[in-house]
């Protein structure tokens, strides 16, 4: 796969303590442009905590999170609020789906456009032509993403009434509507049946290829991870224990031990 790109996200020595517990222990990781990288590891390894640090939900104890947008200055993301991180170009989805259930599918995606648009309260009430044009543009952009993830037939349904797989795809559409440089997916295939998973695989590839967006995913479905991602980073007990191509990772004794337990001499 394309490893040619420049560095996009660079995380150096990220550490996150909760009181006496070190949930993430100096983890470094790099995502290049055009890459689909994966972060794997047993339950409780600190993967989601890592995502939470990167997206501004937690302020990391130590370490640097750097974003290198093309043709612009490097930006340090530590300590920024989540909405600022989203503005910088990181979007994410959640392990347990977090849609705005009481809003329609279309509105959920339109909300994603919020940080890229500007109409204020007075102009919205007065409804000048600029506001109406902007609104039209938001709706068009939102339809673009709904078509892309195949949810166009659900536009006016409440998000909470959607089938499970469709809710996951809606989360991706909402994240993509924020115009990210990097998309972070937290267990996108969790709870999906094999058919839905293969549709997801196609979707992730399409986003990566057609939109030229880098992707970092946490996933437990090894078949999916091994098929689409390179490189793969492996975490256990908060530490990074391996990184490399799917082949390397699969044969790495530390990884096998983490997943299957230590080999015992019989």
């Amino acid at each position: 796969m394309n490893e040619s790109g420049r560095k996009l996200l660079e995380v150096k020595g990220l550490t996150m303590d909760f009181g006496g517990l070190r949930a993430v222990d100096s983890v470094s990781l790099t995502v290049h442009e055009g890459e689909i990288a994966a972060l794997i590891g047993p339950n409780g390894a600190g993967k989601t905590t890592f995502f939470n640090c990167v997206t501004g939900i937690y302020v990391p104890t130590k370490g640097d999170i750097l974003l290198h947008p093309q043709g612009e200055q490097t930006r340090r993301l530590n300590g920024l609020k989540p909405n600022q991180v989203t503005e910088m170009g990181l979007a994410r989805t959640f392990q347990n789906i977090r849609l705005f259930g009481g809003m329609t599918v279309l509105e959920n995606v339109m909300i994603g456009r919020h940080c890229r648009t500007s109409s204020g309260i007075f102009r919205s009430i007065l409804r000048g032509s600029r506001v109406r044009e902007e609104e039209q543009q938001i709706v068009e952009d939102s339809y673009y993403w709904l078509n892309k993830v195949g949810l166009e037939k659900y536009v006016n349904e409440f998000a909470r009434n959607l089938p499970y797989g469709a809710q996951r795809r809606l989360e991706i559409a909402r994240a993509m509507a924020t115009d990210p440089l990097l998309l972070l997916l937290d267990e996108p295939a969790a709870g999906m049946n094999p058919y839905e998973t293969s549709a997801l695989e196609v979707l992730i590839r399409r986003i990566s290829e057609e939109e030229k967006i880098a992707i970092l995913l946490i996933e437990h479905d090894m078949k999916l991870v091994m098929k689409i991602s390179h490189p793969i980073y492996v975490m256990e007990y908060g530490k990074k224990i391996a990184q490399g191509s799917p082949q390397d990772v699969r044969n790495n004794p530390r990884v096998i031990e983490a997943y299957l337990g230590e080999e015992v001499e019989a």
Partner: protein, 300 residues
């Protein structure tokens, strides 16, 4: 029949004012789960600003509706500034701390603002000029509904339509609804939640000020204390309808307005406040989430 209609319209008028104030309570609660007990004081400050403005305007020879509109506009700006500052000073620093702390801060702000107006203005009731002139076309039905009632009804109706439009259709409205449903997720899709909260306080305060101006010119007097009772009643309306629910606030306001008006008309005017609080107690016993409120199941 005429007597019934008269009570019906006077109840509708009061109810729509309660609804206007209750919207401020319910919108703030919906977003940050805080009962903003100082909201009634914003209403009172709105009325005072209007009194000052109308005094100045009368000197310059303006009259009637012109003063009313100008006074309401200036009162709205002042109230917005107060609401914004209130959130910044008293609530934002406490965000993330236990809800009780913010609640106590709210009560503190309420007491502070009351006493501030008491000291800065006067402890007495001040007469408020009748700004709404009688319109000729309403003469035939004046024994059922007077001009002030009509003006109040129309104004509150317009305000609520604008609010509904704002929340349902505009970009900021979507941001507000998203924040209400899931604050931290709203942040993650790039919404500046702090701005949304400030905006909610501003909108609520503007509506409270409009209510204050209308009531003051309807009743004809203001004092530093009017915010307390109006606030408590509007709060009751918000709880009755289901706190956090916008249609609920309007419904609750109207129910309270009518029950007060009918209780005063058919029983005795001594009972109008009693009825309000009996309703509150009954609702809290039998349907704590309110009429249109959602019953939240806590996931463990």
């Amino acid at each position: 029949m005429d007597y019934f209609l008269e009570l019906f319209f006077s109840g509708l008028t009061r109810g729509s004012i309660y609804a206007l104030i209750a919207l401020g309570y319910t919108m703030v609660y919906g977003i940050i789960q805080l009962i903003n007990f100082a909201h009634g004081e914003i209403y009172m400050i709105g009325a005072f600003v209007a009194l000052i403005v109308s005094g100045v305007c009368t000197i310059y020879g303006l009259s009637g509706f012109a003063i009313l509109i100008l006074a309401a506009a200036i009162a709205a700006v002042y109230a917005a500034a107060y609401g914004f500052t209130l959130e910044r000073v008293a609530y934002r620093p406490l965000r993330g701390s236990p809800r009780l702390s913010a609640l106590i801060s709210a009560i503190g702000m309420s007491i502070f603002l009351q006493n501030y107006v008491l000291l800065a203005q006067t402890p007495d009731f001040l007469p408020f000029p009748r700004l709404i002139p009688d319109l000729a076309f309403i003469e035939p039905v004046a024994h059922i509904i007077g001009t002030p009632e009509l003006v109040i009804l129309i104004t509150t109706l317009i305000t609520m339509v604008v609010l509904t439009f704002l929340i349902k259709k505009t970009r900021v409205g979507k941001a507000m609804r998203a924040t209400q449903q899931d604050l931290s997720m709203a942040r993650l899709v790039g919404i500046n939640v702090d701005n949304v909260i400030s905006l909610t306080f501003i909108i609520g305060s503007v509506m409270a000020a409009i209510g204050g101006v209308l009531v003051a010119s309807y009743i004809g007097q203001v004092s530093f204390y009017i915010g307390f009772l109006a606030g408590i009643k509007a709060f009751t309306a918000a709880v009755l309808g289901g706190i956090g629910s916008i249609p609920g606030a309007v419904l609750g306001g109207l129910i309270i307005g009518w029950s007060e008006s009918f209780a005063a008309g058919y029983i005795s005017s001594d009972y109008e406040d009693v009825i309000t609080f009996v309703l509150l107690v009954v609702i809290l016993i039998f349907r704590p989430a309110g009429i249109l409120g959602k019953v939240h199941k806590q996931k463990v």
